[in-house]
Structure formats: C-alpha cells, structure tokens
Amino acid sequence: MRHTLSIVVADEPGELSRIVGLFSARGFNIETLSVGETLDRRWSRVTIVTSGDDRTIQQIVKQCERLARVREVQDVTTSPHIEREMVLITVSADAGAARQEVLSLVSVFRAKVVDISHTQLIVEASGNKEKVDTFIELLRPIGVTDITRTGYIAINRLAASNDHHLERMLS
C-alpha cells in the first residue's frame, strides 16, 4: 500500500542523503520525494511517498527515527490529510483545434498556461495523485513532449474539518 511519510530533519548538509541512503541500503522504495524548509528554518520537512505492507512501513518509520538529526517521522496516510503535487507539462499544440482542446482541459482542471509559443504550451497543474495523473493522461494524445513533477507534499487536516466533502469543495 502507498504511504506518505513526513520527516522533520535538521537542515544540515548531508542529512537528506542520510535518509535517502537508508532507504536504498535497506531496500525500501521511494516513489516521490520533496524537501523544503519548515516554519523554523533550522528544520526541513522531507516528504517521501513509499509503498509496502504495514510491517515494512513501520520498519521505515523506526529506521528513520533512529537517525540522530531526525526530530519526527509521521505516516501522514494514517490520518486525514491533504496531499498535493505540482506538474509542469510541455504540450505540442499548434494554433487551432489541438490548442483549443488543451485550453479547455486547462480550464476544467483549474490548471494554468505559463508559457506559449507557435507550436507548444507549458501548463502548470496541481492536485492530488488522481487529478494530476488524469490531467497528464488526457493531454498525452494531444502531444505531451515533457513533464516535470515536484513529488508529493502532504499535511494533516485540521481537526474541525475532517470531512471529505469539505476537501472536495475547497479543492
């Protein structure tokens, strides 16, 4: 099963490679990875999407917790959370029907056109896994020539808003 881990680690040189090295040394899988600073700049948050059965995930969490500079490891997946990824997509589409199709998909997915030339567009989209994957799949037959994905970031939902309808309304 797919799990999203949120790891708070000291913002020091080499700490990211300690985490990544642990995953490869122990044969754990990394599907996506993203890193950024937290409110307190001395700490970074590393978000890793991985997969495995419950025991494997528990092992990953415990092994990460052993690292001296890791403050906290949370399996975000175990409680209500919001997960987002951003993607930049280059689509080949001349002025005409193809471009109109791209633009209407952009509007449906609440994406953005961030660059344009005579033959190509770059569009930016964000959302959960299903949304980003579907968007790419729908653009693909038109002519996707490149994509760059950020990897997922995640945050736990507020206690008062643990409601899936609310998430849909807001997204």
Partner: protein
C-alpha cells in the same frame, strides 16, 4: 564545572590555519574535549591531515596516551577490544583518505556488534574538499551507512559540542560507532572556546521508557508458558543485565540460550544454560527453540545465523522481544509482544512483579515446566557437543578444552571469524559477560589479534588470549609490533590447518568437495614470524605435546604466538545449513 585549560599564547601560526590569535586551536579544543569525556587512551596512526592534532597530542601526552598501531584497521579493532572489555568508549585517530578507508572495516564491525567507539578522521582543508585533493575521500559519505552518526566539522568552535554529542551518541541507547571528520584547517584554526559543560545537545537519544502494562503481560505469558526459552544476545552485556538475568532465570527455572554475542551474558556451564543456538548451536538449544511455545528474546536482533529460515523458525512460539533499539523489534520477526526498552530495566520489573505474586503461583509455574525440562534433558543426552579424538593429529576442539583447563575458564578470549570461532563458542565455557570478544555480525577476519591488544590494555592484570585462524592471523599480524612496543603480553593461538577452514567446510558439504581457492598452506613459519617481531614463538604438532606447549606459552611473560597444527579437514558440528531450520540440523 571543569577548570578550563589555560590558553596558550600563539607564537607562530600554522600555514593553513586561521591567523587571528584569538583563542585555542581546533586541535587544542579537540584534545581538551576528549579529556573532558574521560579519554586517556587513543589508538591511531598519523598522516598529513592530522598533523595539527598529533602536534597537540604530543603536548598532552601526560593526559592521553596514544598507541601507535601498524594499520588503521588494527586501530579500530583495538578500540573495539578496549570498549568490549570495559564498556567504555574506544577512541581512534586516523588521517584522511586511506587512513579513513582502512578504518572502515572496523567501523562497520563496531556498528554490527553495537560497540561504542568514536573515530576521529583527518580531512583535507575545507577549500580543497570536492577537488579530488591529495588523500581526499568523502569519509562522511563512505561511513554513513555504518555509523550511528557522523560529522564533518566546518568550524573549530563547533568541536567541543560535536565531541560531547559524539560520545553521548556512541554510548547511549544501542551503542555504536560515531565518526568525526576534521579538515586540516579546522584543527589549525583558532576560535573562541565554547564552554564544555554548557554544550547542549538538543538531539539527545532517549532510551524508550518501558511500558509497565506490557511488562505485566509479558510476565503473565512467561508464568503461563509450558515451553518457554530465554534467547539472549549482546544486549545483556551492553545493559549490564547479566546478574538480573541470572536471578530471573533461576527464580523461574527458565532455560537460557545465548547467541554468539550473548555468550557470557549467562554462565555457559550453568544447569539452566542450553548452550549457543543457531547455525552451529547445540542440538538441545535449537530443538528447544523449535519446540518452544514462548520465545523471550532479550537484547537480540533475530540474525539469520540464529533463525535460519524465518518462516519455520520457532513455529509454535509466541515471541516477546525486548530491545533498546525499537527498529530491531519487528525487523525480522514480528513479535506478539514488543517491549522497547533497556533489558535490565525490564528484568528488574519482572523481578519486582514476581515478588508481588504469591509464592504458590510461582511454584506452580515452575512445576508445570518439569515436563519441558525432561524433554530438554533428553535432547542434551541424545546429542551433546562432541568430537572424535585422535592419536596423531591435534583436534581443534581439544585445543579449546585444554585452553579452558589451563586458564581455569578465566581468560578473556578474542577471536576472528570462522571455524575456530565456533569451536571457542562451543567448547570454552564462559563464566562472565565481556569475557568473549568476537566479531559477530560483520564476521571480520583479522579482528582477534588487535582486539586482544585493546582488551589487554584495558585489563592489564588479566590473561587475554586471541584464538585465530591461520587466515585471519595473516590479515592483521602486523599488530604484533604494537603489542611488543607497548608490552601488552597477549597470547595468540593460531589454529593452523592450512585452509580457509569454514569456506572449505561449506565446499566439502555443499559444493561436492570442490575446494576452490581455500588452500593457504603456503604461509610463513609462524614461530619465526613471532620471533622476527620480538615475540616468543611456540609450536604444537602432536596431541602429546599440546598441553605442555600451551602451558609454556600461556606462562610466558611477554607476547606469545602458538602455532597449533590442527587436523586439516575438521568440520564444525552441528550445522544447520543456511536457509534451513533445527530439524535439518546435521550433527555429525
């Protein structure tokens, strides 16, 4: 509070150092921080990147004694021997590049066997890092997978704090190695002191508190078990739990089986001890585990040399797993009752709970296990450890028996890895914790001799014997010079069969006797080699002379090497083939 060392007024600045005369150098601060940690012994080997540190070390020679080794791997194994013999943190100092890479085997060995050491490595100056400079290697990168933590120190003013935290990490929780990589210009730079006693480490590793309810459930399970076994490991020595364990096992009359690392955690000849379990464990220990209904795992990690095939390991047993490292629990075997915490704490709680129970309940619990003991005694009678004697050839097992007899079971023994190691584990009944110092997890040839040197240094009044093979001996025999130089009278028993014995045994048993590259009979004369180093050399070739030769060597005042020519194709039995279980055990 500790009195601060007077700051020397700088006269000349080092060419690569900070020129501002505003405080002590990094090297001075390092030495002071080490003294603050109680370090009085360093094993090391100098080189370009640690020149500033060695210069300072010379000035501090009345406070810290440096032992000059002959190869950096030897330095780390000595520090391990020192740490394993005493529980103190062993300290190593080596230079950058090859100095650091030569130390890696020892660091990995300490990591696998949870041995507290701090290894200080020199590094090229900061501005040269990343330029493929002379003797540059990414030490922090290379050692990352086999340390508890490592540091590249970029500011001299960080040194005191780094050293403080490094020692804390090395000895706390599950002990292990920590590496401090110090660029040459950082050890030369002058900086303001950070007061040693005020260094805060916000990342301190806490021992997990023991969950009282789980302890109660665990004890209830033990009292109700019909066929329990205590499976003990290196955690007993590290938590100092041997006495509590003995009292606990005796109170409930529970059978105990140690892993290789657990040997000595419970007296080997105690009537409750079944001997070692696992690949070369006793028949009784392996059968008891296979048949048990409750496996109480204390300070162990369910290594594959213990479990064999996991799916069929202790198939009928519930597992209670006590370990200080939460990541060890559930790594290989999912216990029905995980208990993260210090083994001694848990055993003390067991005992206090037992005192609260009425004696009748305890008596009944012991009584219900009489049938279990009958079964165990049957296995012990059926397949005791044994070997066939010989009139013409020295049997390695009889060497260990004779060694045991001559040392009255009191010697501290170190070993390499392989057949001789297993014979020591099987035929030398150890009486106390920290008495057997062996390379368990990594299985490092060449560990025994330098580990003995380190142990001898820590225990000057005890007899320290390295039992090694002719293969392992030749990997680190240069440390004989270190033993001679510092008058550390270790005794080295070379179990010489001219083969890489354990590999040969596997080739004989599992590869149709295809002896592929295991013949090492072209070797130096070990007696002459010993004498060339200034040690005494002895040789035993016939069973009739074994006792007297061994006795003479053990009584020799200085360093002694005994070349013992043993039966060439002896095998270690019993053996559970890799990936099999107790029932597949080959006993003869």
């Amino acid at each position: 509070m500790i009195a601060q060392q007077p700051i020397r007024t700088p006269i000349a600045s080092h060419p690569e150092g900070n020129l501002l005369p505003i405080g002590p150098t990094g090297a001075e601060m390092l030495i002071n921080a080490l003294v603050f940690e109680g370090v009085d012994t360093i094993f090391g080997y100098p080189g370009g990147a640690v020149l500033h540190i060695y210069d300072e070390l010379w000035r501090a020679r009345d406070r810290i004694t440096h032992y000059l080794v002959r190869h950096e791997q030897g330095a780390v194994h000595m520090a391990e021997g020192y740490a394993r013999a005493t529980g103190r943190v062993g300290v190593v100092l080596v230079t950058s590049g090859p100095g650091a890479t030569n130390a890696v085997t020892g660091i990995a060995n300490a990591y696998m066997d949870s041995t507290p050491i701090v290894v200080i490595t020199g590094q090229v100056p900061l501005h040269l890092i990343g330029t493929d400079a002379f003797q540059e290697v990414d030490t922090v990168g290379i050692t990352r997978p086999c340390v508890k933590h490592n540091y590249l120190v970029r500011e001299a003013s960080d040194l005191a704090g780094v050293v403080r935290e490094a020692f804390h990490l090395a000895r706390s929780g599950r002990p292990g190695p920590v590496v401090i990589d110090i660029p040459k210009d950082v050890s030369a730079a002058r900086a303001n002191y950070s007061r040693l006693d005020h260094v805060a480490f916000p990342f301190s590793a806490q021992s997990p508190p023991v969950d009282r309810q789980s302890v109660e459930r665990a004890l209830a399970a033990i009292l109700n078990a019909k066929k329990p076994v205590l499976y003990i490991g290196g955690g007993i020595a590290n938590s100092g739990a041997h006495e509590t364990l003995r009292f606990f096992a005796e109170t409930l009359r529970l059978p105990v089986t140690p892993t290789l690392m657990g040997i000595g955690g419970f007296p080997s000849s105690h009537p409750l001890c079944l001997g070692m379990l696992g690949m070369h464990g006793t028949y009784a220990a392996n059968m008891a585990v296979a048949e048990s209904d409750l496996l109480v795992a204390l300070g162990v990690r369910f290594d594959d040399r213990v479990t064999g095939k996991l799916a069929t390991f202790a198939p009928n047993a519930s597992v209670i797993h006590v370990d200080i490292d939460p990541a060890n629990i559930g790594k290989n075997v999912a216990p029905s009752l995980p208990l993260a915490g210090d083994v001694n704490d848990v055993l003390v709680q067991f005992l206090s709970l037992i005192r609260e129970r009425d004696a009748e309940r305890i008596r009944k619990s012991i009584q219900t296990r009489e049938a279990w003991w009958d079964e165990i005694r049957k296995w012990q009678r059926l397949q005791p450890l044994r070997f066939s004697g010989s009139q013409n050839q020295i049997k390695p097992q009889s060497v260990i028996r004779t060694l045991h007899q001559l040392t009255k079971g009191e010697a501290v023994i170190t070993t390499d890895v392989g057949q001789h190691q297993m014979w020591v584990a099987q035929f030398y009944p150890f009486t106390r914790t920290r008495q057997l110092i062996t390379s368990g997890g990594l299985g490092t040839m060449g560990f025994g001799l330098p580990a003995a040197v380190g142990a001898q240094l820590a225990l000057p009044d005890q007899l320290v014997v390295a039992v090694v093979g002719d293969g392992g001996f030749q990997m680190t025999n240069q440390e004989l010079a270190t033993a001679i130089q510092y008058k550390l009278p270790v005794k080295i028993l070379v179990m010489n069969n001219g083969y890489l014995g354990m590999v040969r045994q596997w080739q004989e048993m599992f590869y149709d006797r295809t002896y592929s590259e295991v013949d090492i009979s072209v070797a130096p004369d070990f007696v002459k080699l010993a004498e060339a180093y200034g040690a005494a050399g002895f040789r035993a070739e016939r069973p009739s002379e074994l006792h007297d030769v061994l006795e003479a060597a053990l009584n020799h005042k200085g360093v002694a090497v005994v070349d013992i020519v043993i039966s060439k194709e002896e095998n270690v039995f019993p053996i559970v083939p890799a990936g099999a279980n107790a029932r597949d055990m080959i006993v003869q």
